[in-house]
Each structure stands twice: as structure tokens, then as C-alpha cells.
């Protein structure tokens, strides 16, 4: 088979274009990697500030892992645990999964929750994000203090007119977080204690 010059030109042209495109995107990745990580840290920091009780540590830096879940512990200035937060995913949102950052007090009740990611219908299901009054329904509630279902299913939590699926998914996911804390209570506290020791030796300053 004879390869003519046109074919070689085509191959070279595409090769050069691909190499340059790869170089440009690669360089951009190098330049944006740190800002992207910083932006994500900042977003998580903001959310953690909202769901955790008042704390003086860097909850993000103090993160621990229990059963594959990354947990952000909040501590006061005496290095005592005041709360915990982690993200749970509700896979059964109306359109795709909803991620919720759940902040718990040490007694296992909810301190606050925030929606960190969702694709719910604007103006309908996305009320869960904007409607802080509804999110406040969870504050102070433990596993036994409420029936963890929406009212339509015989529970204690309101659904919205025309949007039952979103609140149902959120209630279920937050309940899952409470159960996780209940089930792994000892393991979580143990891990926090373990993490405390090296924490004290390093300079424990607020990085933010």
C-alpha cells in the first residue's frame, strides 16, 4: 500500500493540533488546580460555618474518616468536641442526587443542615435550598423526637405544594445521617480522640 503525501499531511496536522490542545489544557490545569481546590475549600468552609456549632478549630483540616464517610469535627477552644458534620447524599431526588451537609450536636441531634448540591426543578423542588424556614425544621431534632417522614407519608415534616419527592429524599437522607451517628457513635468518638493527640502537638491555628 502506498501512502501519499496528502495522507501524511493530514496525520501531521491532526497530530500537531492535538499536541497543542493537550499542552494548553494541561497548562491551564496546572494554573487552575490550586485556585479550584481553594474555591472548593472556601465553599465547604462556608457551609461548615453554617451547620456546625460555634467552634474554634479548622473543622476541614481536622477531618476524620469512619466507614468511608469523611467527618468534620467541631471543637471549642478547650479542644472539646462540640459537633460533627458530614455530607450525605440523597440519591432519590426529583432529578439526580441531592447532597446535604448535616451538622450534628454531640447528643446526636441536628444542629443545622444545608444543601450543597442539587438539580431540583427551579422554583419547585429547589425550595429546599432557598427555604431556610423549612431547613430549620430539622434544628434540634433527634432520631426519636420526630417521625422522620414527610406529612404525606404520616411523618412530621412538611412537604411543599407540588413537591413531595424532594423533601422526602432530604428527610430520608438526614435520618440516615442520624442513624449513622447512632450506629457508629463509639467509633466516631474514638477516631476524634485519636486525631486529637497529633493535633495538639502541631500548631493549632486557624488557617483561614
Amino acid at each position: 500500500m502506498k501512502i501519499d503525501r496528502d495522507q501524511i499531511r493530514m496525520v501531521i496536522a491532526l497530530f500537531v493540533v492535538a499536541v497543542i490542545a493537550a499542552a494548553v489544557t494541561g497548562l491551564t490545569d496546572i494554573f487552575t488546580r490550586e485556585p479550584i481546590a481553594a474555591a472548593q475549600r472556601q465553599a465547604l468552609h462556608k457551609a461548615l460555618q453554617q451547620v456546625l456549632p460555634v467552634h474554634s478549630n479548622d473543622a476541614q483540616a481536622a477531618k476524620i474518616t469512619v466507614n468511608g464517610t469523611t467527618i468534620y469535627p467541631a471543637k471549642n477552644s478547650n479542644d472539646q468536641l462540640t459537633g460533627l458534620a458530614w455530607e450525605v447524599t440523597a440519591p432519590d431526588g426529583y432529578s439526580g442526587s441531592i447532597r446535604i451537609l448535616v451538622g450534628l450536636r454531640t447528643d446526636g441531634s441536628v444542629h443545622a443542615i444545608r444543601i450543597t448540591h442539587h438539580r431540583e426543578t427551579p422554583g419547585l423542588g429547589d425550595g429546599i435550598v432557598n427555604n431556610s424556614a423549612w431547613l430549620d425544621n430539622f434544628v434540634g431534632q433527634g432520631l426519636t423526637s420526630k417521625t422522620w417522614k414527610v406529612q404525606k407519608d404520616g411523618g412530621d415534616f412538611d412537604q411543599f405544594t407540588g413537591a413531595t419527592i424532594t423533601p422526602r429524599a432530604v428527610v430520608k437522607a438526614v435520618k440516615g445521617a442520624l442513624e449513622f451517628f447512632h450506629d457508629h457513635h463509639d467509633a466516631i468518638l474514638e477516631r476524634v480522640m485519636l486525631a486529637q493527640t497529633p493535633d495538639k502537638t502541631t500548631t493549632n491555628g486557624g488557617q483561614h
Binding site: 493540533v17 494548553v24 489544557t25 490545569d29 474555591a39 422554583g123
Partner: protein, 225 residues
């Protein structure tokens, strides 16, 4: 064509949305508010300028047979750069626009400009064209986003316009509202264009009508014979 003609053509007469009806996916997908529409448009302008510039620079160098994969690679590289930059420095808007940013790659309007304009014109003209097409597309996104936000939530750029008592017309936020609003906007623009047309060449219109009548007569004669 001189520069201002290129701009007028790209922005209005050949507008991506109003004339070509291209780029419908981002247009209908992200325009739930004026702000979303604006930033989607801004991202598209950046990609268009980059791709038109590079495609115009390499015109004549890329063999004809492989120009489409080459253009797509160039466009994809620019989209990736814009996506990473937005993720880094406009994180919240990046989360809102999400999937629609990478989808700029398959916005046929961009490949269309590379193929139909930048590959045949000078660098400067291609940049003017990119700016015209990009701002025209942004204008369309902004208009549709503004209309939907206004009717759907009574707000514009997040500021209340009709007051708190405005009953949200949910339909305009939902996908069907995008189609309905776009339909009315297109109808309005067609009326506007038609009026401009009528005013500018009334005489040609009369002549054309006479010509059409003549053609119909000829056709009728042909059919009867």
C-alpha cells in the same frame, strides 16, 4: 464586507438564535434567570473568540479532509480552559451552569462559525465575527433569561420587580416556558424585521408581488394547457 457589516450580520441579521435557530440546548437549558443567561453567553464569547482566532490563523495549513476534527479539537481545548477558569475563579456560577459549560463544545453555532467564517476570512474579520456572534448569542440568552425570570419569579437579576405579592408563574421557569417564551420572542422579532423590511424597500415588494402574480399566472396557463 466591512467590519460594521460583519458585526451587524453576526449580531442581528444572522443572529445565532433569532435567525439561525442554533445553540438551542444552552439557550433553553440555562435561561431560568437573566444572570445565568449572561454568564453562559460570556463563556460562549470567550470560546468563540479563541476558536475563531485560531481557526483563522491555521486556515490553509489544515488539510481540508481533516478540518472538522481539527476545529473540534481546538474548540474543545478552549472550552476546557474556560471551564477550568470558571471553576477556579467563579466557583458559584460554575456550580450553577454545571454541565452546560462543557456542552459549549457541541454548540453547533461555534463550529458553524469556524467552518463558515473563520476558515475563509482574515484574523481581524474573524475576531469581529466572533464578537458579533457571541454578543448576539448573549443578547438572546439575556433576553430569554430576563423574560423567564421576570414572568416566572417577578425578578430581574435577582431583584424583585413586581414585589413580593407577585404569584410566581412556575411554567416560565420550567422547560415548557422556555419554548413558549422563545416562540413569542421570535414572533416579535419577525414582526420587527418584517416592518423594517417593508419600510426600506416598499417598491421592491410591490415589484416582487407583481412578479409573483405573473409567475402564478404563467403556472396556471401551463397547468391548463
Amino acid at each position: 464586507m466591512n467590519k460594521s457589516e460583519i458585526f451587524a450580520d453576526g449580531f442581528w441579521h444572522n443572529n445565532t438564535v433569532f435567525a439561525q435557530l442554533l445553540g438551542m440546548c444552552p439557550l433553553l437549558g440555562v435561561t431560568t434567570s437573566a444572570e445565568n443567561g449572561f454568564w453562559m453567553g460570556a463563556a460562549t464569547i470567550l470560546v468563540l473568540i479563541g476558536s475563531n482566532l485560531v481557526v483563522s490563523l491555521v486556515r490553509g495549513v489544515i488539510p481540508k479532509n481533516v478540518r472538522i476534527p481539527a476545529y473540534i479539537t481546538i474548540i474543545a481545548a478552549f472550552v476546557t480552559v474556560v471551564e477550568m477558569a470558571m471553576n477556579a475563579w467563579m466557583h458559584e456560577m460554575y456550580l450553577v451552569l454545571g454541565l452546560f459549560i462543557p456542552l459549549i463544545v457541541v454548540n453547533c453555532a461555534i463550529l458553524g462559525r469556524a467552518e463558515a467564517f473563520a476558515s475563509k476570512n482574515s484574523v481581524i474579520d474573524s475576531l469581529v465575527d466572533a464578537l458579533a456572534i457571541g454578543t448576539g448569542f448573549t443578547f438572546a440568552l439575556l433576553l430569554l433569561g430576563g423574560v423567564r425570570e421576570l414572568l416566572g419569579q417577578g425578578e430581574l437579576f435577582g431583584f424583585s420587580v413586581f414585589g413580593a405579592s407577585y404569584p410566581d408563574v412556575l411554567m416560565f421557569i420550567l422547560p415548557p416556558g422556555a419554548f413558549i417564551a422563545l416562540g413569542f420572542i421570535l414572533a416579535g422579532i419577525n414582526i420587527f424585521n418584517a416592518q423594517m423590511q417593508r419600510r426600506s424597500d416598499e417598491r421592491t415588494r410591490v415589484a416582487n408581488a407583481a412578479l409573483a402574480a405573473l409567475a402564478a399566472e404563467v403556472a396556471a396557463v401551463e397547468v391548463s394547457s
